[in-house]
């Protein structure tokens, strides 16, 4: 869970740091580098991304091939082994778990990044507009966010997936649809504190149109909060997708994701094929861990309060 309290504190700090002479970014970089957990997590993330991008070149089997010598006897013959090229073992259909994990990693990371990306774009623009325009527009826009936040989105998302058919694009759309709400609130809050500052006033006085002020002058100043929030949002998006895939409503075969693999592994662990659960779970956990640590490290670097 993202702690809203801390996000607001961060927003306040980013707004006030501008005033001082030294760039908060240079400070932040130094503090981030000193944060061991965050740096290690960053390395882990890079490794996971490399695994997703280049893992296929290491795999001895493609993710669509079935190893007929193992098929149906996964518990006896499908265990991880170097000899037959199934580094992570196989599932009951004889599919290579290594290449399936690579594929699952690709899908899950993509969902996370796209979900967070939609949140960044929509949430920032929406929040900045509401905050900058203010007045009745602001009230209506934020009321709408309140209303949408009150809707049990996971249920609505499943409803959407069932009605319009399960597809990747629907999944992205559905996850992206809800992810921007909290972001827009935080961005609006910071925009409110930015919009009465001198440089905005100067821009307005020289006749810069409102939309240009938002894009050129407000949004760049929101970057710190948005970056931290987006980093913390990626794991949440991955969690949402995994949740839906775990229920069997997410990505469809032959595509797979961490959630789908974990679900399969959890379903078959009674038969002694523990590796089916262990490997996807391992990647899932270290990635989420790493994202949370990097996000926290980024926040602490930008908002150094003793917590």
């Amino acid at each position: 869970m993202i702690d809203t309290q801390q996000m607001h504190s961060l927003a306040a700090r980013m707004a006030e740091a501008e005033v001082r002479g030294r760039s908060p970014w240079a400070d932040a970089r130094r503090r981030f580098r000193r944060n061991k957990a965050a740096m290690i997590s960053l390395v882990v993330l890079i490794l996971v991304v490399a695994f997703a991008l280049f893992g296929n070149h290491l795999a001895a089997w493609s993710n669509e091939e079935m190893d007929f010598s193992v098929m149906g006897q996964a518990a006896q013959l499908g265990a991880p082994s170097w000899a037959n090229g199934h580094y992570f073992g196989t599932d009951d259909l004889g599919r290579d778990l290594f290449s399936r994990t690579v594929q699952g990693t690709q899908v899950s990371l993509m969902v996370g990044l796209i979900g967070a990306g939609i949140a960044v774009i929509v949430g920032t623009l929406y929040g900045a507009t509401a905050g900058y325009v203010g007045g009745r527009t602001d009230a209506v826009m934020m009321r709408l966010v309140d209303i949408l936040l009150a809707i049990p989105y996971m249920f609505v998302l499943i409803l959407l997936l069932v009605i319009f058919g399960r597809s990747m694009s629907m999944l992205f759309l559905g996850i992206g649809l809800i992810s921007w709400l909290e972001m827009s609130r935080i961005v609006r809050g910071q925009t409110l504190s930015l919009k009465n500052r001198e440089f905005i006033e100067a821009a307005r006085a020289t006749g810069v149109p409102g939309w240009k002020i938002i894009i050129r002058h407000i949004v760049p100043n929101l970057l710190g909060v948005v970056a931290v929030y987006a980093t913390l949002l990626v794991p949440l998006m991955i969690l949402s997708e995994s949740f839906i895939s775990f229920l069997g409503l997410g990505v469809q075969e032959p595509l797979t994701s961490w959630g789908a693999l974990i679900s399969e592994g959890a379903g078959t662990m009674n038969y002694g094929t523990l590796w089916q659960l262990a490997f996807p779970l391992f990647f899932f956990c270290i990635t989420l861990f790493a994202f949370f640590f990097v996000g926290d490290g980024l926040r602490d670097a930008l908002d150094p309060k003793d917590r």
Binding site: M1, D3, T4, Q5, Q6, R143, D146, I147, A150, I151, P152, Y153, M154, F155, V156, I158, L159, L160, L161, V162, I163, F164, P235, L239, S242, F243, F246, L247, G248, L249, G259, I262, S263, G265, A266, M269, N270, L274, L277, L281, F284, C285, L288, F289, F292, R307
Partner: protein, 305 residues
């Protein structure tokens, strides 16, 4: 305060109506009707069925009927897949189960989370603090659908202590409650710890200590209440996530709550049941966030409402 509650209700009711109308329209937009079967029905039978369920009325009239049925009679209509069961019966069968382990999980998460957080804050940088911080970070990456299989693996398959699923006496409650509450407990502990640390550093606590109050009294009387504010504001989103998590618990432990009915109806395309549950959950969410806001306003004397 009363006016505040009224004003909040004025937002809550349109929200709920919007949810009902949107889900109705979504259902209407779905390809195929409720009586689309593999073997097509004779046109006359289909027409009769449509007439019986009012499906040949204009759309707005159907919406009005549906909303009126819910508002006036609390009636979500018949199930489309099981003609002998109404949505109400399906919900009534599962809801008590969900409520039981949901309430237990919520209570467990709040009680243990707050105690852990407060203890960690009082003994900052002691082993208990590190333990609390460590577990709370660990639990964040162990959502319920990861916890559930791990718990079954340990307690059912390896140790054989607990039944792996089903619903009966309290022994069946243990794993669902642990699976559902752990990550919330961790989040609550984390939030409590950081806000408690902030409160403990504030002036009124120094005053309380300076006038010689025993430490226990300082914590319980003066620090706990203001430190609870962020926790209370977290309870709203936590409730939503928890009710979503109950779907996993129902699926994995076969507890038979409404989450199970929801996923089954999603897979069977039983739109009436899906909508009924979505609306019920939406209503609960809205009601709960209202309660949380009122609680917040009551605890925080600075708030203006």
């Amino acid at each position: 305060m009363f006016g505040y509650i009224l004003r909040r209700l004025a937002v809550a009711i349109p929200t709920l109506l919007l949810l009902i109308v949107v889900s109705f329209l979504l259902m209407h937009a779905a390809p195929g009707g409720p009586f689309t079967q593999e073997r097509a029905l004779p046109p006359q039978v289909l027409a009769n069925l449509n007439a019986k369920y009012g499906l040949d009325d204009p759309l707005w009239l159907q919406i009005v009927h549906y909303v009126w049925g819910i508002v006036a009679h609390f009636d979500f209509g018949p199930s489309f897949v099981y003609p002998d069961r109404s949505v109400n019966q399906i919900i009534a069968a599962g809801f008590p189960v969900t409520l039981t382990y949901g309430a237990l999980s919520f209570a467990a998460a709040v009680i243990f989370g707050v105690s852990l957080g407060v203890t960690a804050a009082i003994r900052q940088n002691s082993w208990i603090d590190y333990l609390a911080v460590g577990t709370s970070i660990g639990a964040q990456v162990l959502p319920n659908f990861v916890m559930a299989p791990i718990l079954v693996l340990i307690f059912t398959l390896w140790l054989g202590w607990l039944p792996g699923g089903g619903w009966g006496g309290p022994i069946y409650w243990i794993m669902p409650v642990i699976a559902l509450s752990t990550s919330f407990m961790a989040s609550i502990a984390r939030i409590t710890r950081s806000s408690m640390l902030e409160v403990l550093g504030s002036n009124h606590i120094r005053t309380a200590r300076a006038k010689g109050l025993p430490e226990r009294k300082v914590i319980l009387r003066h620090a706990l209440k203001p430190a609870m504010l962020p926790v209370i504001s977290y309870l709203g989103p936590a409730f939503v996530t928890m009710i979503t998590g109950s779907v996993v618990v129902d699926m994995y432990f076969s507890t038979g709550g409404i989450g199970r009915s929801f996923v089954d109806s999603a897979l069977n395309r039983d739109y009436a049941v899906m909508m009924g549950i979505t609306i019920l959950v939406g209503a609960l969410t809205i009601l709960f966030s209202l309660v949380v806001d009122v609680l917040y306003a009551w605890v925080d004397p600075k708030i203006r409402y």
